[in-house]
């Protein structure tokens, strides 16, 4: 029965989800309108459902909604500020790192978490960080370029763009 209330902070806003015990965080958030989270494999393999929970990137198909009680959750919807795309999103577009787009929200969130922790990742570290996110279209090279471009922009190393503090 759908009778349990879960209080979370979703993209900075206090939010109440009404769920069943068996509802996964992925399904609860999608029903709430957070459709950037994709239901790919529901077995933890693909990464299309990646979000950031309490600062850590996680696969939301492996989390029960009620476990998120009190958690701080960030999804792609929360990266857009006043209608302006986040530099990571823009970099994915500019580098042609999006084809069908199914993996993109997950890729963007994993990238966001990586760059928070490690603003200047090496190619090796980028590849390692993205191993849990599968893309069936791009062949990954454009994605890796997009991550490097995001890192450069966010660290202010982009010839006058925004600085890290803006995001």
């Amino acid at each position: 029965m759908k009778d349990k209330r879960v209080t979370i902070t979703l993209n900075g806003r206090k939010t109440i989800l009404v769920v069943e015990d068996r509802t996964t965080l992925l399904n609860a958030l999608r029903e709430h309108g957070v459709t950037s989270l994709k239901r790919g494999c529901e077995e933890g393999e693909c990464g299309a459902c990646t979000l950031i929970m309490n600062g850590l990137p996680q696969k939301s198909c492996l989390i029960l909604a009620r476990e998120a009680e009190g958690a701080d959750i960030l999804t792609v919807e929360g990266l857009v500020k006043k209608g302006r795309l986040h530099p990571i999103q823009q970099a994915f577009i500019d580098e042609g790192a999006i084809q069908c787009g199914y993996c993109t929200p997950g890729m963007v969130m994993t990238t966001y978490a990586l760059l928070k922790k490690n603003p200047y990742p090496s190619d090796e570290e980028i590849r390692e960080a993205l191993t849990g996110n599968i893309c069936r279209c791009t062949g990954y090279l454009a994605i890796i370029r997009a991550v490097k471009k995001s890192a450069a922009i966010l660290s202010g190393n982009n010839g006058g763009g925004g600085t890290r503090e803006d995001y």
Binding site: E20, D21, R22, T24, E42, E43, G44, E45, G47, T50, L56, P57, Q58, K59, C61, L62, I63, L64, R66, E67, T110, E128, A129, T131, G132, N133
Partner: protein
Amino acid sequence: MRDFVLERPRSISEVLSTLQRHGKKAIVKSGGTDVIVWLHKSLKEPDYIVDLTAVEQLKGIIMNEDNVEVKALVTLSEVIEDNSLNRYFPALVQACKSHSDPLIRNRATVVGNICSAVPSGDMIAPLVCYDAKVEITGTNGSRKVPVSEFIIGPKRTSLGADEIVTGIRISLPVVETSGCYLKAIRREALDIAQAAVCCTLFKGDNREFRIAFCAVSARPLRATEAEKLLNSCGNIDDNVIEQAAGLASDVVDPITDVRASREYRIEMIAELTRRAISNCLEGPVGEGVQK
């Protein structure tokens, strides 16, 4: 996914009374990276899930004077980022890094891995090499068992229905050590081992090698004969390493499945053992605690 009741106890005593109430109708869950997949695939259909993630007492890595406690909810990522564990137990850290991917590692626990007790579980061999003790609590009190006795067969442990694992405890080495975990896999991430070898070397006056395997036996297994040879001979040259690798591959008893054939696994054990011994002899040396 079939419906179930989710219980979220707040303390160990609440966990135990909940388990006592529901008996065999309940499954315990930590990170859920096995349990939730089983539920999705209807491999298990419990009436109750007892989620441990709200139990504060089960969190944290605690360094004591001569041992370390890795509590039940410690994730693989926490192990990888812990400086002390890197210093004392490099083979455990390597095994954690070889497990799944960075996102899953933010949830999957070390204890959940040994409780699942699948022969390909990456935590088993390093915990056998470091002689970790599994700490168990139930309605009838607490007990401790070595990992090698805790796992009694594929997907089977000595845990009673009213018991949980509260953590594992490992003695800190008192001498310099080195160690490594080498794994044969088909792709670099998100794949389960075809075979793996964990090797640790405790230096000092009585040199001690320990070698254990992954995915090649029903129960945790050590290469006792190979260890004896390495520990007793003075100079370890290529010839000795070759012999030890042979002794190691003699004791494993793998199955053929979708990931690899029995023959391939046996070959890989010899090769990985060879490399693991050399790595330990040449590899960077971790400190022991000063006594």
